[in-house]
Amino acid sequence: MLRTLKVLLTLMAGIALGLATTWATVIRPNGSGGVADGPWRTSLAAGSSEGGPYLRAYVAVHALLALSRAETIYYNASEDSEGHALDGHCSYRIEGRDPPARWWSITAYGADDFLIPNPADRYSVSMNSVARRADGSFAATASKPQAEANWIPVTAGPFDLMIRLYNPQPDVAADPGHLALPTIKKVACE
């Protein structure tokens, strides 16, 4: 009887530990891994059969139906350029130049991996919609209060930003850590 109880408890503890480690390594979003370009990170194997089981599981949970790098390369930022976690209680200035791709966008997602509800129904800025300065650069704002231009609304709580590079130029895959992607700087907090 005691032995049966021990076997059951051992199994239950093993199952719990196994599920917890899967949660910690795959299901819980994290900003580590892949190649970094400033606060942005990418994995060139995402969406392809080259990725190992951990990347494939991560993509299934957080980026299902991601295209392989020949078509699109995705970068994520869950921290600002100073290394602090993005938080909707604060406003951020996203500043840079057009990334080297046929088309690009920057989109905000909530911790649940879906678009963030907001009264304006705005979720992104893109190559087509962004307002540029005279020198071609741009500055977007991720914030809860409405910004004058290039506003990406967020709400209180953790969020992350994703850059999509559709039909990226060949040098993106060749050197994904040196694109000089936009900086993300905290402006103010509530």
């Binding site: 503890a13 196994g18 480690t21 951990y54 139906l65 989109t107």
Partner: protein
Amino acid sequence: MIVRSWKWVAAMLLAAAVVHGVTVLFLPRFVMLRTMKGIAKTAGAANAILHAPRATSRSRGVVRPSPDLLYSICVYDLGATGAVRVSTHDMPETYWSASVFDADTNNFYAINDQQAKSGAADFILVPQGKSAAANRLPVVTAPTPTNRGIVLFRTLVNDEADVARIDAARHNAACAPYKTD
């Protein structure tokens, strides 16, 4: 006593390793099966296209949708039909692509507007081992281990003033059972 305790700890760690390995390995298949079930239910069947409405914060079909793209999607089932024809025509002059994913989430084929030319794409999806050399249409072979997966059309809204026309044109995308020659 210590040796006996270590045996239980080792057994617990072994169970944890097995559970961890199995869940990591099968998570992609599980997520895809659940997603395919939802898509086929909404589309009415497998091998039928679903033109999803533009993504908003209320969209819950697939994680991380782009609000700048229009998605048309179908579940292919080669086991039921032997082959599936994927096609579109008269697509708008913007970025669009048709991509195919296996049941383990791998994107094993994609064609975009610049590769397709003339705003059209037309190919047949067949399972491994099926000869389709005599077909007049290009053939794409779906990898094992399953005969099911997802075809996803993405169409970029590059001009908000033109969204109605772009949306109408992307409705030309189709998936349908196909009888090979």
